[in-house]
């Protein structure tokens, strides 16, 4: 079956590697994109007739490169290259070509292409938009919907980011081990940013933004195929899979947030969890721990617990302690406090986050968590203050609604007590 739908999937699957290889030839993003577009047009014409090539990516790179060179030759009035019919299909020249374009070439190409998108001078939102446009091939319209901005605004954002990169020096030489490790870290961080853009979505924006989670997972899978022995990439992919597996249980029918503890675990995606768990096991064998692996290991402990009460909070506390030393951050400590509170009661959690009050004063979750500790301790007035503050800082209607449920409960619980107190006066 070589229908147009299949060709479409094959073209988008080949895109990251093909554009990356074309960027190496043309050393210019626009030229690489144009050459890829041209190759896609020719594939749509050629593949239904001749059948799909065995290696669509190699075909697209070869045809794209020729059409790019062709365009240059045409302008200088030279002879055209032979039409792609003659280089198509399962003949020896293609096998040879596929050989030459093996993983070893692609891996640094793809890494370079992604690295170009995370240029340090670009703000993170532009990095993500650029990667989604150029590497993943999402349309400007899709990206605009995901970021809840107009298409025109997103078009402008991407154009500006491209112009910024065109002025910068793109590193085309093959990277040494140190450069490769640096690029790898920057690219991993960008991929996780893409994921979080999708993961933080709520309400009506969810369908458009959930796609970002899937795109990030796809990019991580691609990177792991190219760099199969990188434990942090295993960790990152595992982390995203384990988090994304909970997607069907994270919101109720009304779009309200369902906390991890209250989620219907039968809704979790078992295939994603199994893949994530296998990746965590693979990564840990390397004994080269890193922040993504530790976070994935924490997510794995949640995934392994059949019921919320089976959760190994002791081990989660230990892992957060490890993460605190690797990547000290008040948000990590805030998360750790939840494990502490589970193990030693709400006062222990509260004690742990008190020193963070100043740094996390404008952070929604800090006030939500602190309010919950106060509520569990029966300090309802303080709990209400924290929840009011959290609502003011909420990033979405769903977050605000979730906190309002706590406030309503407090109001119901405290109303009789307050009436009784008033009556005594």
């Amino acid at each position: 079956m070589t229908d147009i739908a299949w060709i479409d999937k094959a073209l988008s699957a080949a895109r990251p590697q093909a554009v990356a290889a074309l960027l190496r030839y043309f050393r210019d993003l626009d030229a690489a994109e144009e050459a890829f577009q041209e190759a896609c047009l020719r594939a749509l014409k050629n593949w239904p007739k001749n059948g799909p090539p065995r290696d669509p990516t190699a075909w697209l790179v070869f045809v794209g490169r020729n059409s790019g060179i062709d365009a240059i030759r045409k302008t200088s009035r030279q002879t055209e290259l032979p039409p792609e019919d003659q280089i198509s299909d399962l003949n020896d020249s293609e096998a040879d070509m596929a050989e030459r374009l093996d993983n070893a070439d692609y891996r640094d190409d793809v890494l370079r292409l992604l690295f170009v998108c995370c240029h340090p001078e670009l703000p993170s939102t532009q990095q993500i938009a650029l990667a989604l446009r150029i590497v993943s091939g999402l349309s400007v319209r899709q990206i605009a919907r995901a970021f809840i901005v107009s298409e025109a605004a997103m078009e402008q954002r991407i154009t500006r980011a491209k112009a910024r990169i065109a002025r910068a020096d793109v590193p085309f030489e093959a990277p040494g081990p140190v450069e490769r490790a640096e690029r790898f870290a920057a690219v991993a961080a960008m991929v996780y940013l893409v994921f979080n853009e999708g993961y933080s979505a709520t309400g009506d924006e969810m369908p458009a933004r959930v796609q970002l989670c899937e795109e990030a997972i796809r990019l991580a899978r691609l990177l792991l195929r190219l760099f199969p022995t990188e434990p942090e990439m295993m960790g990152l992919l595992a982390l995203m899979l384990l988090q994304h597996a909970r997607m069907p249980a994270r919101f109720d029918a009304d779009g309200q947030i369902v906390l991890l503890e209250e989620q219907d675990r039968s809704l979790w995606n078992r295939a994603m969890i199994n893949e994530g768990l296998a990746l965590v096991d693979k990564a840990l064998r390397h004994r080269r721990p890193g922040p993504y692996q530790v976070q994935a290991a924490i997510a794995a402990l949640h995934a392994r617990a059949e019921r919320a009460e089976d959760t190994d909070w002791q081990e989660i506390d230990v892992l957060y302690a490890v993460l605190e030393t690797m990547q000290p951050s008040p948000v990590v400590t805030l998360n750790r406090s939840v494990a502490r509170a589970k193990l030693h009661g709400p006062q222990a959690g509260l004690d742990m986050i008190e020193p963070l009050a100043e740094r996390l004063d404008t952070y929604f979750s800090f006030h939500g968590v602190r309010g919950a500790y106060f509520m569990q301790l029966g300090r309802n007035r303080e709990a209400r203050e924290e929840f009011d503050r959290a609502i003011a800082l909420a990033n979405s209607a769903a977050e605000a609604a979730h906190i309002r449920i706590h406030l309503d409960r407090l109001a119901k619980e405290s109303a009789p007590a307050e009436l009784a107190a008033a009556a005594k006066k």
Binding site: W6, K9, P52, D55, R221, P228
Partner: protein, 123 residues
């Protein structure tokens, strides 16, 4: 005569399928499997997780070597296999042809006789 039918395909394409594509493909494959099951010709069937989740153990002179990733670096990845109980290679080829027709992607199927067969022991 027992045959294994091994399914090869472009993993980067099949893993980019939407949920709808995937469901449609599975439904079409199930339609091929169902009559075989009725005739008692279908052994265990497995669909495998992406090759990025694979680990390979390679036998060496000394300790076995554990390697990240699938066994071989090829353009197409082994995504699953069928075990079918048929009378001839032709019959196995016929089933593979039906499966290829039912699949959304082209891909290849390797048909290989089985020397030892362990029946399915999972519940």
């Amino acid at each position: 005569m027992l045959y294994a039918i091994l399914c090869y395909n472009h993993e980067e394409i099949t893993s980019a399928w939407t949920r709808e594509d995937d469901d449609r493909c599975m439904a079409q494959l199930m339609a091929v499997q169902e009559p075989l099951k009725q005739q008692g010709k279908l052994g265990p069937v497995a669909r495998l997780l992406p090759t990025s989740a694979a680990t390979t153990l390679r036998k060496t002179k000394d300790e076995p070597l554990v390697i990240d990733g699938p066994f071989a670096e090829t353009k197409e990845q082994l995504l699953g296999f069928y075990v079918v109980d048929v009378d001839s290679l032709d019959e196995a080829l016929g089933i593979a042809r039906d499966l290829a027709d039912a699949n959304l992607s082209p891909g290849s199927y390797e048909i290989r006789p089985i020397m030892t067969f362990m029946p399915n022991t999972t519940p």
